[in-house]
């Protein structure tokens, strides 16, 4: 078991180093860092001075080592556009993105599981057919189109919900701001959260449906019926419980891509999160932000993957035995 954890840890560090190499290559070789920092009137001697002070004349390997060391202490350099530390810029916007991602994942899980169970139990009912059709459309509609549609219906036509921004936010602690505690913040969250969660919702619904249909055919469900348990106990106590492990795994693994996909949702709703920051960086070729965001997403993916793997090993006795055997 410990060998398994160590092996996974080494793999994760390997992935992170590979991504760091890409980020470093972008940082160092795409555009000259010195040119981005100085004005037109800076003399060649001064440029040379800055080059030296930044260590750009050292061997590339040394520079990469320094980049990784700095990244490990959360120093990603200075943004070209804002002339501010990248870490500070990202940290300011992280609460908005994380809140949006978590709320939309919760929405996707709750509605997705409910719809999945329903379509599995009433396979031929008309509502189940409608859900199936909706899920097909949900997979095909690009995120930004869903967002625009929701804005048109609920903001422009009905005027119920705000179409942009985060509403009023409240500071919690020294660096976290939340919109969950104010009425306007909650209202502003609804449309972006649905937009972002819709794709995951259809994914989860299809998964739950498939897993439920599979489980309902198994012997222990037949046996539960034979024991005369109520439908409710069979469906929710036995069947649903056994479908939840893969569902929660997928939902966990999807959290990383939800945060990455937030780029699109944040643009549609002008949500002040990391995604918009990254997009501005791409548009204005602000390499330090792009590199830092890339590393952040990679870190997130690696951590989530690791946690899911470890949880699996802890929860599933079969996996544990094969792991120790190998």
């Amino acid at each position: 078991m410990i060998a398994f954890i160590i092996r996974r840890l080494i793999q994760s560090i390997g992935v992170l180093l590979a991504v760091a190499l890409i980020a470093f290559t972008m940082f160092r070789f795409v555009g000259d860092p010195v040119n981005q920092m100085v004005g037109v009137e800076t003399s060649a001697a001064e440029r040379e001075q800055i080059r030296k002070s930044l260590g750009l004349d050292d061997p590339v390997v040394v520079q990469f080592g320094r980049y990784v060391a700095k990244a490990a202490s959360l120093d990603f350099g200075i943004s070209y556009q804002f002339r501010q530390p990248v870490t500070k810029l990202l940290a300011e916007r992280m609460p908005a993105t994380l809140e949006l991602a978590l709320v939309s994942s919760a929405f996707a899980l709750a509605v997705g599981i409910a719809m999945g169970v329903y379509t599995a139990l009433r396979r031929n009912g008309w509502l189940a057919q409608v859900f199936q059709a909706v899920s097909l459309v949900g997979v095909s509609l690009p995120t930004f189109l869903t967002g625009i549609l929701l804005i048109y219906v609920f903001s422009v036509l009905l005027g119920w919900l705000p179409s942009f921004g985060r509403g009023d936010v409240v500071a919690v602690g020294s660096w976290w701001t939340t919109g969950l505690l104010t009425w306007t913040g909650l209202r502003a969250l609804i449309l972006p959260a649905i937009t972002l969660g819709l794709f995951q919702m259809t994914l989860i619904m299809r998964l739950v449906r498939a897993e439920m249909l599979e489980v309902l055919r198994t012997d222990y469900i037949k046996f539960a019926r034979a024991r005369g348990l109520s439908q409710r106990a069979i469906h929710f106590g036995h069947a649903l419980k056994n479908t939840l492990v893969p569902v929660i795994t997928i939902a966990g693994l999807q959290l990383g891509s939800v945060i990455a996909f937030a780029i699109i949702t944040e643009t549609v709703f002008q949500w002040p999160g990391m995604g918009i920051l990254f997009l501005q960086a791409v548009q204005n070729v602000d390499i330090p932000i792009m590199a830092a965001y890339l590393l952040f997403i990679a870190f997130l993916f690696v951590v989530i993957n690791l946690v899911v793997d470890l949880l699996y090993a802890a929860v599933d006795p079969r996996l544990k035995s094969t792991v120790t055997a190998s």
Partner: protein, 328 residues
């Protein structure tokens, strides 16, 4: 039985759009016999509609210059006085402009046709480029093996952890940084194809590598080696034709994804500029006018995009099931 006629009517429609109707049709027939009849019929009817929609849209894109009443991108023919006109059937619309006009007075019907053309072209080229990279790397990884294989597949693993849209955005940003002299208008098209190619190659590489590993130990390959053919020749002439089959399905499924990726990049403002709009660019433009009630500028490109992607996805799903030996 009604489903038989439905199934027969489907074949000709399929032949026009799906590249491999000969392999697909028997699979579907078998499935119809095996499966729940009603469900299969519903499924095939959907496929039929999807095929028709795809054919119509592809044809519209191909023949856009002949169908479109005006050339929306010729500044001489566009009149600002015609801007913001609603569709013909809405009050205030003019007969000249079937679907209304956008903020610059361009005929929206023509703009959508040309936009569809650009979107499909970029999607197809991007997917073709991705397939070319993926097939080459997959062949080399599978055939050469050893360290080359390990390096290629590790890169593929790392890339798989990122969503395609993020890779495409990064490639877009980096390439524009490298080409800082050139204007976005000249480079946007190529950069988009490159971004899509580099974000979608992994699936092809994995599939091709898997089948190459099986294929390379077979007798005919050993024989070719014994005769002294060069490895490149063996890979291209002998291995490739025998492993390339499954790529067809991935191509179809990826086309929908590629069109979405292009539209998303253009919508985010890092794709095609408003002077040569794709569907995504048109939606980006239209979104700004949604609040003044001018829904048509965003609605028609949006519906076209959604219809295209949905139809292509349905065809892809159907093709995957029909060609899947496990389901036959």
């Amino acid at each position: 039985m009604p489903f038989t006629t439905g199934e027969k009517a489907e074949s000709p429609a399929e032949a026009a759009s799906a590249p491999a109707p000969a392999e697909g049709a028997p699979g579907l027939v078998a499935r119809l016999k095996d499966n729940d009849l009603v469900a299969s019929f519903l499924a095939s009817k959907m496929t039929m509609v999807a095929a028709v929609v795809t054919v119509v849209l592809v044809a519209a894109a191909l023949f856009a210059p002949w169908i479109a009443p005006t050339d929306p991108f010729d500044p001489a023919k566009v009149d600002l006085l015609d801007s913001h006109l609603p569709p013909r059937w809405v009050e205030g619309g003019e007969a000249r402009f079937l679907l209304g006009t956008d903020d610059q007075g361009r005929d929206l019907f023509s703009a959508v046709l040309y936009g569809l053309r650009v979107s499909l072209l970029i999607g197809a080229l991007g997917v073709a480029f991705a397939a070319a990279i993926g097939i080459t790397l997959g062949l080399v990884a599978g055939y050469v093996g050893g360290r080359v294989d390990a390096v290629i597949m590790r890169i593929a693993d790392v890339q798989l952890t990122f969503p395609a849209i993020l890779i495409a955005l990064l490639v877009d940003g980096v390439v524009h940084a490298l080409l800082k002299g050139a204007s976005r208008e000249d480079t946007a098209f190529g950069v988009l194809v490159l971004s899509i190619g580099l974000s979608f190659w992994v699936q092809y590489a994995r599939t091709i590598r898997g089948s190459t590993l099986v294929e390379k130990n077979k007798d005919y390959i050993q024989a070719a080696r014994l005769v002294g053919l060069s490895p490149v020749l063996i890979m291209m002439r002998h291995v490739l034709p025998n492993v390339v089959g499954p790529v067809l399905v991935i191509l179809t499924i990826n086309l929908g994804l590629a069109v979405i990726t292009e539209a998303t990049l253009s919508f985010l403002g890092v794709g095609l500029p408003p002077t040569q709009p794709s569907l995504g660019t048109l939606i980006r433009i239209g979104q700004q006018f949604l609040f003044s009630g001018e829904w048509w500028i965003v609605a028609f490109p949006g519906v076209t995009l959604a219809g295209l992607v949905l139809a292509v996805n349905l065809l892809g799903d159907w093709l995957r099931d029909a060609l899947n030996p496990k389901l036959r």
